[in-house]
């Protein structure tokens, strides 16, 4: 029989069979346990496979990374805090850190801001679903593809030559430019150009979630306010916005994490040159180009330390919201 057919059968029949066998097996094993203890042990047995995978693929590498961050490149000598000292003493690393702060602030601001704006506006038009689909579409594109698309948008040819980049061709119509969008370091213009690409991708995400929350607001509340003479701005400021705050926070924290993890766009578009580097790209460079495993691990740990509090905050918010429901 064709090998692929066998693989397909294993995937379709084999995996569920193993799962069922596992559940049945746990029940058999639970027979030896006194009746009272069963409900307490059973969930753990059911979670065991998932926990094992998490441990193997998440926890184990994480601990390994933390250990490696205190060792030299080959992992043979303990070097204490040397890798972290390098990080704090390196201009490249500090510039990447600064850029990540820009990413964090502005990507979050732009995606939440535009997401809110669009969600509120399209709520009032007939072609809402079409508009929302269009804005959501970029999220379906892979980040590398988005980077390549925007490389063409930002393309620069010397003055006098035919501008093949969309933006420069557009401003050329008005006799402006050309502007080397990705080469201007002043005021981190090039970093902002990269953030715009990510904003283009992720605004749809913010919009969809905020829009869903908007639909959840009781229309009678808004009606009552309007009857009492509130204008639309007052309705938005006094009722809609406060009710949306929990959602905005969730979207915001998700975007903060996305910003901290930014890599693909920077890697494909500038590869961190001309002061556009970010932490994740720096980590990749140290790891795969330079082969400094210790330093790359230290960067990973810095990133982890930055993200963990935000994740806990996010989980906390999520729980609080669940409790309200």
């Amino acid at each position: 029989m064709d090998e692929r057919v066998i693989t397909a059968i294993i995937a379709v029949v084999g995996v569920p069979a193993v799962l069922v066998a596992y559940i049945w097996g746990t029940e058999q094993a639970l027979r030896v346990v006194p009746e009272k203890m069963k409900p307490r042990i059973r969930p753990w047995l059911w979670m065991l496979p998932a926990l094992a995978f998490l441990g193997l693929f998440l926890l184990y590498p994480m601990i390994g990374t933390i250990i490696a961050s205190f060792q030299n490149t080959l992992g043979t000598v303990w070097v204490g805090l040397e890798n972290y000292e390098w990080f704090l003493g390196s201009n490249d690393a500090l510039s990447a850190l600064k850029n990540n702060v820009l990413w964090l602030i502005f990507l979050t601001l732009f995606t939440v801001g535009f997401g809110l704006l669009i969600a509120v506006f399209v709520d009032r038009v007939r072609y809402e679903s079409v508009a929302k689909s269009l804005i959501f579409l970029p999220l379906a594109i892979s980040m590398v593809a988005a980077g390549v698309i925007w490389l063409y948008m930002y393309q620069y040819k010397p003055p006098g030559a035919v501008q093949t980049g969309t933006l420069n061709a557009a401003i050329g119509v008005f006799g402006l430019g050309p502007i080397p969008w990705l080469q201007v370091e002043d005021f981190s213009v090039n970093t902002f150009m990269l953030i715009i690409v990510m904003t283009w991708m992720w605004t749809g995400f913010g919009m969809v979630i905020i829009s869903a929350a908007l639909k959840g607001i009781n229309p009678e509340l808004l009606e009552a306010a309007r009857v009492d003479g509130a204008n639309e701005w007052q309705v938005f400021k006094g009722i809609i916005f406060p009710l949306l705050v929990p959602t905005l926070v969730v979207v915001g924290t998700t975007m903060v994490i996305t910003a901290l993890k930014a890599f693909d766009i920077v890697f494909t578009m500038t590869s961190g040159n001309l002061n556009t580097d970010v932490i994740a790209n720096l980590m990749y460079k140290e790891m795969f180009r330079v082969g400094e495993f210790g330093r790359a691990s230290a960067i990973a740990v810095v990133l982890l330390v930055a993200i963990v509090p935000i994740m806990f905050f996010n989980i906390g918010r999520f729980r609080a919201q669940e409790a309200v429901r």
Binding site: Y156, P158, A161, F288, R289, G291
Partner: protein, 440 residues
């Protein structure tokens, strides 16, 4: 059907590599001179044996390599499992600590080769090759580049010269009166520039390797200004970046090249290296001269044009008589990670003139072996002559520096060319990196 296989290909390669690594027990050194009988003839029967090879060659180059090994496969009955990838550096860097390595591999450069030797991953070739014949047939500069402490670890199965200045003969034909010195070049170039907007074309964008065409520039200038000794001490970390010789080379690049570039440094940074020479052929032309290695004839607007009539080249001019015949070349260094009988046999075969002539005749490569000379056109013959005639031959410096140093060299040349750094700032920064990179 086919797409399914394509999807599986990376997994299969990994599987093959794993298989290769388990087959050859690491550490069990068999390179103690115990050659198989008849080994030097390269005709032993290896039916069924497999050699895993990874290299940087893809597409046409991959076809040429496979054509090159086909006679060996026929002779021995063994097969070559080849995988071409541009990220060979990443794969080997990840493979050294984990042991997942192919039998034979293209090595990124002599610097990395020394690192792999230090890590104990590369096998010595002194007992694998007929070393006397190899040394005699190969350009001495290339032999030395494949050695670590006098032991041969890497061989060259093809090579290339850098430092060619390309021009469009319909604008001005330099053939027969090539500029001999740098000053002549600048003077004649400017005099014959015609309608061209800039003297030079320059494009240094190349993804995460952006900046390398500019590092090539600095290397050529330094090699011809200060000579091979300073050049070699420089990449080895024995000459500081802040040394006057280095600073002069950087300033020559900034003043004579970047300042006279079509569209200025910003355009150079925003232009992909493979399309950088295209303005040579535009109307009106963007530039009159373009510096790039021989492979450019396979890229951009060069494709489909005829060597000699549409474009031509002359060697990088001298700054002074002393270093006029110095040549910067590149080569595809090849090393062995597992000393299986089939891998050894293939290695012996690849260094022969017969094998290298196959690729040379197909075009796009210069042989490392002096006896392989079946070049398809005049420019290739000119370049082949540059290699065999070179009194001093140096390898790409940025490839030989510690990887951290090479990466910083690249990214600072991007900043420098874009005009966001001064030469002094860049050199001071590079020296800081050097203090760290060479200390390990």
């Amino acid at each position: 059907m086919r797409s399914t296989y394509r999807f599986l290909a990376p997994l299969m390669v990994l599987g093959l590599l794993l298989a290769a690594c388990t087959a050859a027990t690491p550490g069990a050194s068999t390179a103690d001179g115990s050659q198989e009988p008849g080994a030097s003839q390269g005709e032993e029967d290896l039916t069924g044996a497999e050699v895993t090879v990874i290299g940087t060659w893809t597409d046409a180059e991959q076809e040429s390599f496979l054509a090159m090994v086909a006679p060996w496969e026929e002779q021995t009955g063994a097969t070559v499992k080849y995988q071409g990838t541009r990220s060979i550096n990443d794969i080997l860097a990840a493979g050294i600590p984990t042991g997942v390595l192919p039998d034979l591999a293209g090595l990124p450069g002599p610097g990395q080769m020394a690192e792999y030797v230090a890590a104990g991953a590369l096998k010595p070739l002194d007992d694998v090759l007929d070393i006397e014949t190899y040394v005699e047939e190969t350009s001495p500069g290339l032999v030395a580049l494949g050695q670590v402490d006098g032991v041969t670890y890497g061989t060259f199965i093809k090579s290339a010269v850098k430092g060619l200045i390309w021009y469009n003969p319909t604008l001005h034909d330099y053939a027969g009166s090539e500029p001999a010195t740098w000053d002549d070049l600048i003077a004649e170039g400017e005099a014959n520039q015609g309608d061209a907007e800039g003297l030079w074309c320059l494009g240094i964008e190349s993804g995460d390797a952006s900046g390398w065409p500019a590092t090539d520039w600095i290397e050529e200038i330094l090699l011809h200004q200060a000579g091979p000794d300073v050049y070699n001490q420089w990449w080895a970390g024995e000459v500081a970046w802040t040394d006057p010789a280095i600073q002069t080379a950087f300033e020559t690049f900034m003043n004579d090249v970047v300042a006279n570039t079509y569209g200025g440094g910003t355009t150079a940074v925003a232009t992909k290296f493979d399309l950088a020479g295209d303005p040579l052929f535009a109307s009106p032309p963007g530039c009159a001269l373009f510096h790039q290695a021989s492979f450019i004839t396979g890229l951009g607007a060069f494709v489909g044009k005829t060597a000699g009539t549409d474009y031509n080249a002359f060697p990088f001019p001298a700054f002074n008589d002393e270093f006029a015949t110095a040549v910067e070349g590149a080569g595809d260094l090849f090393g062995m990670f597992h000393d299986t009988p089939a891998a050894k046999s293939l290695m012996r075969y690849l260094v022969t003139a017969d094998a290298q002539d196959i690729w040379v005749a197909r075009g796009g490569a210069l042989s490392a072996n002096k006896n392989a000379t079946s070049y398809p056109d005049d420019i290739s013959t000119l370049m082949g002559g540059m290699i065999t005639g070179a009194e001093q031959f140096v390898f790409d410096a940025s490839d030989q520096m510690p990887t951290a140093m090479g990466a910083a060299f690249l990214s600072h040349l991007v900043s420098l060319t874009a005009g966001s750094e001064t030469v002094e700032e860049a050199l001071a920064e590079l020296q800081t990196v050097a203090d760290d990179a060479y200390s390990e």
